[in-house]
Symmetry: C2
Subunit: 433 residues, 2 copies
Amino acid sequence: MNIRFFNARILTMEDGKEIIEGQLFVREKRILFVGTDDEARSYCDNHPDEVLKWDREIDCHGNLLMPGFKNAHTHSAMTLMRSKADDLPLQDWLNNQIFPIEAKMTAEDIYHLSKIAIMEYLTSGITAAFEMYLTPYSVADSFRDCGMRCVQTSCVNNFSQSVELLEDYYNDLNGRDEYNSFIIGVHAEYTCSKELLTKVSELTHKYKAPFWAHIQETESELMECVERYGMSPIQFFDSLGLFDYGGGGYHVVWTNEHDREIMKNRGLYAVTNPGSNCKLASGIAPIKEYLEKGIPVAIGTDGPASNNCLDMFREMFLVTGLAKIKNMDASSVDAMEVLKMATVNGAHAMGLNDADTLSEGKLADIIMLDLSQPNMQPINNIPKNIVYSGSKSNVLMTMIGGIIRYENGQFNIGVEPSEVYSKAEEISKRLYS
Amino acid sequence: MNIRFFNARILTMEDGKEIIEGQLFVREKRILFVGTDDEARSYCDNHPDEVLKWDREIDCHGNLLMPGFKNAHTHSAMTLMRSKADDLPLQDWLNNQIFPIEAKMTAEDIYHLSKIAIMEYLTSGITAAFEMYLTPYSVADSFRDCGMRCVQTSCVNNFSQSVELLEDYYNDLNGRDEYNSFIIGVHAEYTCSKELLTKVSELTHKYKAPFWAHIQETESELMECVERYGMSPIQFFDSLGLFDYGGGGYHVVWTNEHDREIMKNRGLYAVTNPGSNCKLASGIAPIKEYLEKGIPVAIGTDGPASNNCLDMFREMFLVTGLAKIKNMDASSVDAMEVLKMATVNGAHAMGLNDADTLSEGKLADIIMLDLSQPNMQPINNIPKNIVYSGSKSNVLMTMIGGIIRYENGQFNIGVEPSEVYSKAEEISKRLYS
């Protein structure tokens, strides 16, 4: 498909670039052109061969085009447990509500349950998810069949998956299709033996690959590791060479200056999950400290049993709102910084360097936000409107790789919503019986 | 209008009542009947005269009817300053960004600017606002003309309004029309002299009326009062007899046991504003402590320059999310408790005792929430879904006093959205020039 967007405001997320009023052309999977009306005219004059017959011309009515959000940490199929295990202490939540049900889930269940999350991502303008769950192949199938980008990492630990499987996932899922890729990772320090981690470290060296894990989400996770090895998980992972090719951590709530020094030196990403960290009472991540240190921060929703909402707008407000309250400083972590986390930084953390900004040649992972709803009025400052008063109800369109997957409340994911829901109900009835 | 809703799930918010699957009848401004299909049939058989010809029969397709949310603290016309004054320290925000612009606003400006907020409330299922702003008559006109409920209090202080004006507002606005009412209040302790407050106290005694104010929003507000009078604002107000007929406080972030003892004994309400308290770095209110003490909590968005979103869904998540993190206890403040705050408690705090639950004879202030969007799936637990994964994008309909003011994205407020927006742009250009 070749699509021309016109009458658009365009937030490219290129560094220092102001919002453009103009046009954006998509040719097949990629962005062909971004610029003002004058530039568009001259582009068309100078590239008569490239400017194809448009399959569709979309009048944006002054609404905003921007890069799709990157959900940099999630467990999609946990839609099953949404609202089944709330208002509980963390250990009770995990041991009595989550683990027993997960033990009963099949790869096929996970395929179907992931689709509810994929639909929810689309409604919130999310075009890619950094996923960790039990059955990477069926997760990959689910994302591919819906036409959504998925970067997976393994949740290998002492009790499930294995380093051999991890290597298979790595080789099989990278390059398998245009929507999926795979990054080396483990569940967390507290679920992995030193022996297992050492083998994973060998793998990162074999492939010169980055390494990811849940890291220092809770204070008790940190303290147990200190007791076990005399150092924090970040320090321990680093001592095993796991970060020799970079990577990052999910949550990273409980870090000290020494940890952050390692993160900075290794070029690690901090993926923050503020909704989950509130709901599970894990704590508030030191976002301001990460920024001051030059550690790039990305944003994830975490899974729908922990958050329970897969909504980047809520997360964006929480990132800055919690930072302001943690530092008792209303000027902490400004809106543009948050937008960068939710788009460019997420893309880079996930290895999606081709889906970070709206620029010529980049993948057409684009969303349109409605500025004519009351929460965006008056249009005093668009980036601040998005972060502070924006809502998923402003998402008019979500395009991934040049294909519109969500538009005006309708999904284009190869399956009817009602079918996805009834499948989930069926699975829920079976597993909770 | 007489309207029959059928195929509905109904969360009445009556104490201890389960969700009903059935029907709800509205006759003119009020609820005529709520019950199952069987009960509906027998109601119709037994009340042939009461059951009128329906002007409209609405198939809810299994979606949820519940009482409209009550926004228990806001300053609607501050839509003008939305996204104009963010990421700033509080004193800079107030003294350099807010006050100078407010000094230039006319009553007519406030009339128009309030309408953007009213529209935003409707999109979030809010049916009534507890308002405090500079020109109560034009605010009242704005809400009346849009058909939305407004309970106002005065922002009288040493620099604007007066006790004489306050009494006029009280007498003029109570009973003036079906949408407006007025409650005695002042801006805050730190902007009011003891002499002024003493005169207001006389007014509360004259009318045997409750009293409201911004109370203990920031630590510095508290400490300055302690320095001035040797006690907290709550203790100081109480010493002046201001709470002899009840009332409550907005924000109430910084309270101690002594304050809460007074709140309990005087039957005061705590209105919490978590979005604003984050964004302005004011702190986290002790919600768990209020609940344990039996102090009723209601929820407000605060104004659009402080939050900046007028969205009850975001506030509801924040109330419980921040409580969980403040107490480091994931079981703090459960979802049903939060829903009660956002509906029943808000209504009672605002004196809207007739608009609290979906019960026969109550005002038809009703919203419909879409359960067929992915964020509400699977339908494991509806109250938890609303609070933890719900969004304003789930609001299909907002009805106030039997009239549908918002439905499927369209407004019915006597004016076109584009007219509201262009009026606001015009005002913004004039005041910021």
